[in-house]
């Protein structure tokens, strides 16, 4: 099955792009009111910080710019969101509506360790330090 493993890194990059953009949409709804259907800015400083992490971090992950830094903040924010908002709603993520938060948290944690992959701004800008995960593909 090594023939499939060869393409793990490109698929990772496309997945990172889409999931990052979807994540940025949450920040966009709060800060820019786009895409439509959001509830506006959440109250308090913590809510504002979260919204900016979603918008900026989402684009950093999507484009692969300082990927690990963006993924670190995004994963951390999702963990805080899960335990502050969802965890008290029950044990199972399906019941407390925190499934997306858990899923994003773990995916971004993986991005933090995996790196940006070969199709990323990091790989373009800093040839040396971001390449290792590309070598794993």
């Amino acid at each position: 099955m090594n023939s499939l493993s060869r393409f793990a890194d490109p698929v990772f990059c496309i997945g990172r792009l889409l999931i990052g953009l979807m994540y940025a949409c949450h920040g966009g709804q709060k800060i820019l009111g786009f895409p439509p259907g959001g509830h506006g800015m959440p109250p308090g400083a913590l809510g504002a910080i979260g919204a900016w992490i979603e918008l900026v971090g989402g684009f950093m992950i999507a484009l692969g710019f300082l990927t690990r830094l963006g993924a670190f903040f995004a994963a951390g924010e999702m963990m805080v969101a899960y335990f502050m908002v969802h965890a008290k709603g029950g044990f199972f993520p399906l019941v407390n509506h925190g499934e997306l938060a858990v899923a994003n948290c773990w995916f971004f944690l993986f991005v933090l360790f995996y790196g940006s992959g070969r199709w990323s701004l990091d790989a373009l800008l800093f040839k040396k330090s971001s390449a290792p995960s590309a070598g794993a593909g």
Binding site: M1, P35, R68, L100, A103, W106, F107, Y114, A136
Partner: protein, 136 residues
């Protein structure tokens, strides 16, 4: 940043476990009636979906025939997105299909990445499944 790269496979395995179990819990809702059950779970199509969710989710979680399970689950999520969510708009956040897109791509990545080191596949079939480790 190579020091972080050393741990990406273990983190991948934990992610696979958590994401697989959450995926399976949707199947549990449909097939086993857990979490209060789901409306319309008697329909044929929903039943088939439920079994894919339940069995595929557990296979992914424990890393048993991971690539096969991830391939079927990923395709199933793509169908779910385009059948249910896509007609409602362009943005996944608007169509409420974000989770479907997420699962679809993460499982597609799993098809290519493989089971990783902490999996039943790695225990049962020593050769050939655990490609990414040798590549690090």
């Amino acid at each position: 940043m190579n020091s972080l790269n050393r741990f990406f496979d273990p983190v991948y395995c934990l992610m696979r476990l958590i994401v697989g179990l959450m995926f399976a819990s949707h199947g549990g809702q449909i097939i086993l009636g857990m979490f209060g059950g789901m409306k319309g779970s008697g329909e044929m199509l929903i039943q088939v979906a439920g079994w894919i969710l339940l069995v595929g989710g557990f296979m992914i979680a424990f890393g048993l025939l991971t690539r096969l399970a991830a391939f079927i689950s990923s395709g199933f999520m793509a169908v779910a997105y385009f059948m249910v969510h896509a007609p409602q708009g362009f943005f996944p956040i608007v169509t409420k299909g974000e989770l479907a897109v997420f699962y679809c791509w993460v499982f597609l990545f799993m098809v290519f990445y493989g089971p990783g080191r902490w999996s039943l596949d790695a225990l049962l079939f020593k050769t050939g499944v655990f490609a990414p480790a040798s590549a690090t």
